[in-house]
Symmetry: C2
Subunit: 494 residues, 2 copies
Amino acid sequence: MRVVDARVCGSSDAPVTVRGWVRSVRRQKKWSFLSLSDGSCAETLQVVFPGRVDSSVTTGSAVAVTGSLQQHMRLPEKELHCAEDSASAIELLGGADAETYPLQKKEHSFEFLRDVVHLRGRTATMGSALRVRHTLSGAVSASLDSQGCTQVHTPIITGSDCEGAGETFRVLPAAELRASSGGGGGGGGGIAAEAADGSAAAGATGAGFFGTEAHLTVSGQLQAEAFAAALGRVYTFGPTFRAENSNTARHLAEFWMIEPELSFAGAAEAMDSAEAVVRAAVAAAEERNAGDLAVLDQAFGEAAARRSAAADPAPYARVSYSRVVEMLQEAHARGEAPAGKDGEAVDAVQWGDDLSSEQEKWICAQHADRPVFVTRFPRSLKPFYMLQADPLEDESGPVVEAFDLLVPGVGELAGGSAREHRLSNLIAAMETHGLIDAEGKAGPLEWYVDLRRYGSTPHAGYGIGFERLVQFVTGIKNIREAIPVPRAPGLCLM
Amino acid sequence: MRVVDARVCGSSDAPVTVRGWVRSVRRQKKWSFLSLSDGSCAETLQVVFPGRVDSSVTTGSAVAVTGSLQQHMRLPEKELHCAEDSASAIELLGGADAETYPLQKKEHSFEFLRDVVHLRGRTATMGSALRVRHTLSGAVSASLDSQGCTQVHTPIITGSDCEGAGETFRVLPAAELRASSGGGGGGGGGIAAEAADGSAAAGATGAGFFGTEAHLTVSGQLQAEAFAAALGRVYTFGPTFRAENSNTARHLAEFWMIEPELSFAGAAEAMDSAEAVVRAAVAAAEERNAGDLAVLDQAFGEAAARRSAAADPAPYARVSYSRVVEMLQEAHARGEAPAGKDGEAVDAVQWGDDLSSEQEKWICAQHADRPVFVTRFPRSLKPFYMLQADPLEDESGPVVEAFDLLVPGVGELAGGSAREHRLSNLIAAMETHGLIDAEGKAGPLEWYVDLRRYGSTPHAGYGIGFERLVQFVTGIKNIREAIPVPRAPGLCLM
């Protein structure tokens, strides 16, 4: 921004000083050329220096350059021209030893850059990805604000556990771990761990600090529902955690979720809301980050078409799960079906089966490679809190008012549903999922049941995986590049 | 919002349907009156119903009311009048048993409300607090965005540990805890805990999952510095954690911090930035939440004057620590000094002493009860990464380019500094703090040292405690009311 500002506002004669980092240096006989970035945008500023710049000015070094802004000979951009007589036109603020600095000008693999995550934001591609991520974050919040949603910071440390699905992280004060190690020199102590029946041992397991077992949240949804029942429309936007040992390009141990909850709304309104958020995010990136998107499109090459398809004014298609299964079966009969869950094309999909990511891609392809809502999923595929719907003729079993938003390149970008707001139905669903104890209580979720006891209303909500939104807009292939500092099994740098 | 919209847009005759929660019911002989809230704003809508509404319509229940908007007889507001002949004008969506619903119309103590944290957002005061918090969150981000800062989500789980200050939480996969409990039925197993020399035992302590000891972040600052060295100006806005066993009105185990870092900036520019953020936050609340602030001012009664003092166009005063000590000593000589660190007035403060919260309040009082920056603190009071300044005549020892922003009613709202950007000085400071090992390495902070090896620049940053900002603007006394779901020793509801 500041480099851009300098370009725009500088008169061609008044000297200006620009600070930034050297992306590259070219030394010729009579001239030297620096490509300078201040990190605020994808565009760099070309510095034209009379003579050979000092050898201390290397790729990665920080400099302050004084000169006058001149029109480039052939390009629309301006250049910063250092005066002929000024030996001190380039001030070295901080060097970067060419022998050891990990980011020389040549291209680096993303795998290599993950090992220098504290430096990788300085590369053109990662810098652009981070700036687009910032724009998307602001655009999502602005869209939800304009939809009348109040942002609520739901807790990160929680005694509840949404869905009971997925492995969680436990949280324990470091001091309790230290104290319980017995103070010996060789780590010979032990701490009492969670009992096998699920009850927490006191003290060292963390029950001591909070008085209960504490976990990192896997979703803020249930808590968001509590605040939707107070404020009408709310959303959370915060970090969530899964301790699953999946070392894939699609999973992180720490990732950010956007989770709106809308009182007095059904699945249709929730889909309207999600579609508005996605459109706002795409539009904001196109408007604010044209240069960054050009860099990313060159690096990853797919997302421009996706963005344009998502921005098309025609509403995103809404197709029921049952219809999708029918389409897949018809394709199977024609020998054109995509692969199944395990990646191999075998039997035709049956009603009640989960959809594979290959099938999700195929569904988008059937809809002009645009985002598609798949609706009304079999109840058996979805969590306990979703609202059961009256089955339609083409449905082979109980369905819930759920939806997934599938997008090309990424697959499931968002998922949501109307929530079961009737007390007795909720209790019955929780019993089925083993969440009700012998005394008829919901244990750590008793507060959630309270929401149906007092002033319960029809409501609906959804969750957008923020890194997946970043991937959708930028084309980033591996989710570890969609977040500033990735966390995964064996990966905890910085 | 929707109730307000209905008021504004509804013609007086066309029937409208409004959905919300009943705040109170008054049943008279010929008329019933409901106070209805949809949670979007402080204002409620008065429903006028001919006859006695059904006894199922109680405080806390959710209803849909159909009627026509009519001008109130004496007030500027409109009322929703149900038709005489319509018995179904009020549809009960979800009841709230008057015998068991915890929030009847009478006033509740904040202590009581903390026990029903899943419901307390429905009270007028907490609803207003949550809506103001939302406005402040958006205003902070908008201000920093306009300052050219890119938001970076720094990691929550970290292998680094900012400042080494304060107790941290450790993060361990629940499955590893379960596995290491030996599978027995009585919790008789034990897990290997951290060795006393600080090295992590493998496996069950969490080193197994991440390959290193993982903690919850106490600050995103150090990571933000890495991204400032890539993007120029950045900020983090995320949850931070302290495992300190402080059960006070000023501490939380989980709280949100705003942490900007500005490349090519000094302490003065960082103070400019912080002042702009505070002004933007106050202005946004005044503009968007007038009704909410009226509710909060009535409940807490102090903040209106603070907000107006903070909005005054005169710049916030900047006074050095040494001058503050001098002022306190002069006041002590006059017998007018505030209490010391332990709350008791004893000896005069000496150069090098920390300031007590009473002294901080006194400093604001000396400056027309406006926000004040105290600058240039003794080095011994501040963390290792702060930039050492050349001492001035009135300074009795080494000082750093640090600042605290003190505000009336809250005390320290923000703290920041220029950062030590010179490699050798940083290493020396880290040695003093015991952060360099025998091999001359900084262990888990080696990446932070890298930032000074490659393209280092002068830079500065600060942190704002977001809940303290909420307290400053709203007047909330106890920080547990400044966050939707508080976390503290023994407190982990929801």
